[in-house]
Structure formats: C-alpha cells, structure tokens
C-alpha cells in the first residue's frame, strides 16, 4: 500500500472539450445556439473591423466608398491619443514618464520587493514624474493645460492611490476608534463621499474650490482634479482597510498591549501588517477602479486618455472616426486593467498559499 497521495487523474484536453460542449443532446443544442449567436454578433463586427477596414493610407483613402473601420486614423493619431497636447518636440518626456511608471508598477507588483522602502521610492518617482512633465531644473516648462493622454491617466491614478492611502488609513482607524467625535467625523466623511457620484466631487473641485479659496489664492486645475480624485477614493479605500482591520482578532491587540507595546507600536508591528496583507487583492481591485474612473476627468475637460481619443476624432482632416478612437482607448484601458485583475487573482492565490504555512 503506497502512502503517496495521488493527484486525481486529469482528463485529456479533447475529452474535457467534448464533455463541455457535447455531453448530451441538450448541451449540444446550447453549443450550437451559442455558436450561432456569436457568429450573428461577431460577423458584422469582423466585416467592419477586418475585411472592409482601411489599414494604411491618408484620410482620403478612408473617405471613399468603404464601409469599414479606418485603422489608418489610429496610426496617424497615435501620438496625439497617447500624449494629447504635449508639445511634440518634447514628447520624449511623457514617454520617459510612461517607462518610469511601468518600472515602478512592476517593482511594487513583486512581493519580494515589498517593504516600507517602497513608500519613499514611490514619492521620489512621483516628484520625478512631475519634474519631467512640468519641466523643472533646466527643462523647457510645459503648463499643465498641455499635459494629456495616458501619462495623465496613470499619474492621476497612482498619485491618487499614494495620497489617498495615508488619509484612508487614518479614516479607517478613526472609524474603529473608541473616541466618539472622531468616529462621527470619519463616518460622515466616508458616507458622504461614498453616497454621491464621482462627477459631483469633480464639480466641487472644479467650480466650488476656486470660490472657497481666499481671494488671490489659486490652485491649478489638474491639481484640483487630483485632490477630488484623492478624496473620493480615500473614502472607498478606508472601507477596504476597515474590512482588513476587522479580520484581526481582538486577542492580538490585547496580547500586544499586555507585552508592553505602545498603541502606535501595536498598530505598526502587529495590526497593520496583518490587516493590510489581508486586503492587498482588494486594494489592487480598487486601483483598477481608480484607473477606470479617471476617465471621468474627460467630463471636466482634462485631456486624459479617453478625452484625447475623443478629441483626436474632431481633427478637421480626420473627422468623425469616433468608433476607431474609442476602440483604441478601450484596448489600452483593457490591457492595463486586465493585467491588473489577473495579477490580483494571482496574488490572492499566493497569499492564501503562504497563509497556510
């Protein structure tokens, strides 16, 4: 008698397919009906996007008698959709910013690099991004009105998350605390921001904040939008972190206090490491939500990726290729967010696995 545990036999692929598609007459019928529906939906799209499409050429080639998509438009407007109104001769700067962000995200995605050192590194990177975009120390200055495209979408998201985090942490702790007034203020902040649509928060940032500042003072439009995004997401992030705090059994805190830890030490060494690790996948999912929701900046006239795509179709030479522009933007968003959500799933499995040991 062998003591070795045998893995359950895995059926070969073709068998799983046959089982999944034609296990009985009803299942077979469902397969055929689904196939018919997919073809009915996809064929016109494939005709438009592939068969009748114009892949290269000028606007004149697209203006002809074709009923298909004009991908030549995406080729011609590629730079604009990525960087919007950033001066073309300086476009190496937003390109470098994208590279910087990609490096930063890759680094912080790997659990092996997780440490408190990531915080100063991210802050440094944000300063670097700002210097590259705005043009500090000898670079030609570029006003934030000319910033745009994918760098805006990503920078606003990352800065939003970075600045929302400390705020959300304090809000979550305040909501859990035994101090009544502090708790009430935190609850009011969180529930008000979660109860209104994001667009209302952005309107406040755009229309009310300039009026509420003392006369003479002014805050840049993009910065105001950034503050709005940050405050809005800090409320959601606070609830995510609170869920993590609730996972910690009270015995842990009592044990830490009885060992003579101060309350700050207890939070930093016992509570937060466990609570935050438990909600990292949820934080990643929320970050995807931030990236998707920065598209609302388009409504208040900031040229993020979506607005850049929309504006590119108002070029008098290439007029009205909205569908192509939106599909390009959709693919870009999808690439970013799908990677993020797969990563979150992978992370969840990994954290669960390490939890068992």
């Amino acid at each position: 008698m062998s003591q070795i545990e045998l893995a359950p036999p895995v059926a070969p692929d073709w068998q799983r397919w046959r089982e999944g598609l034609f296990s009985g007459w009803a299942n077979g019928l469902v397969t055929l009906a689904t196939l018919a529906a997919i073809l009915w939906l996809a064929l016109p799209f494939v005709r438009w996007a592939v068969i009748d499409a114009v892949w290269t050429g000028t606007a004149a080639d697209c203006a002809g008698e074709t009923a298909g998509a004009c991908w030549a438009f995406v080729g011609a407007k590629f730079r604009f959709m990525l960087f919007a109104f950033f001066p073309p001769h300086l476009q190496w700067r937003p390109a470098l910013v994208l590279a910087l962000i990609a490096t930063l995200l890759t680094l912080s995605a790997l659990p092996r690099f997780w440490s408190y050192r990531l915080v100063p590194i991210s802050l440094l990177a944000l300063v670097g991004i700002w210097m590259l975009m705005a043009g500090a120390s000898g670079l030609e200055p570029v006003s934030t009105n000319h910033w745009g495209g994918l760098p805006i979408t990503l920078t606003v998201s990352i800065a939003g998350l970075a600045f929302a985090f400390p705020l959300a942490l304090s809000l979550a702790l305040a909501r859990q605390s035994d101090m009544g007034i502090v708790r009430c203020l935190a609850i009011a902040f969180i529930e008000v921001l979660r109860g209104v649509p994001m667009i209302a928060v952005l309107y406040v940032a755009m229309l009310i904040v300039p009026m509420a500042l003392p006369s003479g003072a002014a805050i840049d439009k993009l910065l105001r939008a950034q503050i709005g995004v940050t405050l809005f997401f800090s409320a959601y992030l606070a609830e995510v972190i609170r869920a993590g705090l609730q996972v910690i059994p009270p015995g842990q805190m009592e044990a830490a206090l009885s060992l003579g830890f101060s309350r700050i030490q207890m939070l930093r060494l016992v509570v937060l490491p466990q609570a935050l690790t438990a909600v990292i996948p949820a934080i990643v999912n929320l970050s995807i939500g931030i990236v998707l929701n920065t598209s609302l900046l388009a409504v208040i006239g900031i040229h993020d990726l979506l607005n850049a795509a929309k504006t590119s179709a108002t070029d008098p030479i290439w007029l009205g290729f909205y569908s192509e522009a939106y599909i390009f933007a959709a693919l870009t968003y999808f690439a970013i967010c799908f990677t993020g959500s797969r990563y979150s799933l992978w992370l969840e499995r990994k954290l669960k696995a390490s939890d068992r040991h």
């Binding site: 999944g20 397969t31 196939l35 649509p197 229309l207 599909i327």
Partner: protein, 400 residues
C-alpha cells in the same frame, strides 16, 4: 433571592446616567476631540465665508431663491412636463424624474440580463460559459464612460429611419432612436394604468406568499398567481369599457410612428448602464450560488430531491443571503453611474443642475442639490439594507 433585594436597597440610579453615557461615547481625550471638532467647524466657516465673498464679487446672492426664477433653456425629454419658461425648480424636478426613470428601468433590465448571464456562466456548457466570461472581463476592464461614448457613437451611426434596422417587423433601430411595440389602453393615460398594473402584480406576489406560507421560490405557483391577477385586471378593464391594444411602430415617410420611442441619448445611456451592470450582477449571481457548499448539493441529492427542487429549496435560499446585499449595492452603483448622462446629452439631474449652474452662476447650490438627492437615495437604501441584514443574519444564526 438575595440579589434583587440588595439591588433595591442600593441608593442612586441603577444604570449609567445620560452624562456618564455621553462620556463613554466620547471616550478618551475629550478635549483634543472637541478641539478637532471645532477645527473642522472653523475650516468650514472659513471656506463658506470665502465662497460667500466670491459670490458677492460675482454679483450673486447665495441661497435658493433662484429656484423660483424662470429657466430659459429647453430639456431634451422629460417624464415631468416641462418647457422653457417654467421655474428652475421644475427643471430640476424634471431632471430628478429622468434620473429615476433611467435608474428604475435600468435596474430591472440589468437584473434580468445579469441573472440570465450568471446562470449561463454556471451552465455546464463550455462555449457559453467562456463567452459570458469574455463578456464580463471586457466590460469590467474598460471605463463605463468609454462604453457610453461607444454606444452613443453606434446609435448615432445607425441608418436614418428610412433604412432603419428592423427585427420581427416591430423593433426599429435608427439614428433617431429605438422604437419598440407598446401597450396602450384606449381612454386611459399610461400614468393611470401602469401603476395599477404594478399594484396588481405586487398584490398578487403578497397574496401568493401568504398562501404558500414562506415558499417564496415556488416559481410556477407564484407565476400562476401573477398571471391570474393580471387576467382578472384585464377583464375588469374590458368590462369597464376600456380596450387594451398593442401598438407596433411603423415606418411612415421620413420618420417612424407609433409604439414606444426611446431617444438616442436615453437608449445609449440605458443600454450602456444595463450592459455594464449586468456584468457585475452576473458575477454576483455566480459567486452567490457557488458560495453554497457542495455538501449541501450532495445532501439534498442524497435525500432524493430533484435538481429543480435542490435549487429552489436548498441553494437559492442560502445564496440569496449573499446575493441580495451585493445586488442592492450594484443597483446603487447604477443609479450613481447614471450621472454620466451629462457626458452623452441625456437630461438627468446632474445634467440639468449643470445647465442651471451655467445659466445662473449658482454652482454651489446646484451641487448641493445633486449631493442631497444622491445622498438621500444612498442613505435610505443602506438604512433599509442594514435592517434587512440584521433580520436575515439573526434568523440564520437562530436556526443554526
């Protein structure tokens, strides 16, 4: 026997008084807490004073007096009758009605589509399940605003009414909007008979629930009761001298006439919101049903229950406990997301309030109105949900 005696003999209040209760509520460091509270209060007073000053500089008077002034803009469509020249209050009311309309219809359709997709995802069929999976991933990883822009672009790129796409000779898709067959009762406006029908359905549901004593998920009997009630309602209408008829839209000249017509903006918003929410709802339904442990299925099968009975009597009652709160929060999301209407030209509350702010300059008041309406909806729904949760959780704990 001794304890109550000693308690009665003790002087003073038996429980903590209001002062000590307040002190427990405030907790440690009351002075610092009051300082924080007054700091926040001062900040708001400071910002408010600045705002009032700025408004005076712009020649505006803070306050809601402008609501009774004449609004000189048109609203594309509205459930509430409104025309340029009516008051701002009425314009905003029309906006609220439009928001409610798209939210209610959207939630209903998203539930139907989402539940169907969730079940499709769970069906053993590999092709159908992967197709739905792809649909969900595509919708969840692209911004809703982009989806709305795309739907709007697609609807505006449809052929004019003359060459409109037709399905079954009764549904028309054109760049002037979507046309559907409609039900009408001759001699009665829809605002009278539609609520009556809804009331009938609701009454039938309540009665069937009472009669079947808690067996909520017995679909055939419930459906039978509802259909029966509707039949009685129909015969009552006919015997009172009204006649109901189905009106099918038809091409006539340069436009399509008759039936129910949806404007391109409403159609784009509704389709966008429904398709987007259906992706989340299908995931909620799937995870809710999968949250029921496989042991429950096996035990039910061992007891000799049929698959339909297992679903109705064992799985759904447990899954619904997980599904309901998530479903309601996705209804709230849909309602809040309907504010994106402003970007594609459907006159919802945010869009009308935005126009109001632009024409009167009273941006602060307009935003306060938006915030109040959405907050009222959100807080009311979450209050009801907390009540429901407490009931369901308590009931569940009690049975275990």
């Amino acid at each position: 026997m001794v304890l109550p005696m000693t308690r009665q003999l003790q002087p003073g209040p038996s429980g903590p008084g209001p002062v000590s209760r307040l002190r427990t509520w405030i907790g440690p460091q009351p002075l610092q807490q009051f300082a924080l509270f007054f700091g926040v209060l001062l900040l708001f007073v400071f910002l408010g004073q600045n705002t009032a000053e700025s408004m005076h500089r712009m020649g505006l008077t803070p306050g809601f007096a402008f609501l009774s002034h004449q609004a000189n803009f048109e609203i594309g469509e509205s459930v509430l009758s409104y025309s340029a020249g009516d008051s701002y209050a009425r314009a905003l009311g029309a906006g609220i009605a439009n928001t409610v309309k798209v939210a209610v219809v959207g939630c209903l359709l998203a539930t139907v589509l989402g539940v169907a997709l969730g079940i499709a995802r769970l069906s053993g069929n590999l092709l159908l399940a992967s197709f739905v999976h792809g649909y969900v991933e595509l919708l969840r990883n692209t911004p809703l605003l982009l989806q709305l822009f795309l739907w709007s672009a697609i609807i505006h790129a449809l052929p004019p009414p003359r060459g409109a796409y037709t399905f079954l000779g009764s549904v028309y898709l054109s760049n002037r909007g979507v046309f559907l067959p409609s039900l009408s009762v001759d001699g009665l406006p829809a605002s009278v008979w539609l609520p009556a029908v809804l009331l009938t359905v609701f009454a039938a549901l309540v009665i069937s629930r009472r009669l079947l004593a808690g067996a909520t998920f017995y679909l055939p009997k419930t459906a039978g009761t509802v259909l029966g009630a509707l039949a009685i309602f129909y015969f009552a209408l006919v015997s009172l001298g009204f006649s109901a008829s189905v009106e099918v839209p038809a091409k006539g000249g340069f436009n399509i006439r008759g039936g129910l017509s949806l404007t391109p903006e409403f159609a784009a918003l509704l389709i966008g919101l429904v398709v987007n929410a259906s992706a989340s709802i299908s995931e909620i339904v799937r995870s809710g049903i999968q949250s029921v442990k496989s042991g429950q299925w096996e035990a039910a099968r061992a007891l000799g229950l049929k698959p339909a009975q297992i679903m109705r009597l064992v799985v759904l009652p447990q899954a619904l406990r997980v599904i309901t709160p998530l479903m309601i929060s996705s209804f709230l999301d849909l309602t809040k997301n309907s504010s994106l209407a402003v970007a594609i030209g459907y006159p919802d509350l945010v869009s009308v309030a935005n126009t109001t702010a632009n024409t009167t300059g009273q941006a602060l008041e307009a935003i306060i109105i938006i915030g109040t309406v959405y907050l009222t909806i959100s807080l009311a729904v979450s209050a009801v949900m907390n009540l429901y949760n407490r009931r369901v959780v308590l009931r569940g704990e009690g049975k275990r």
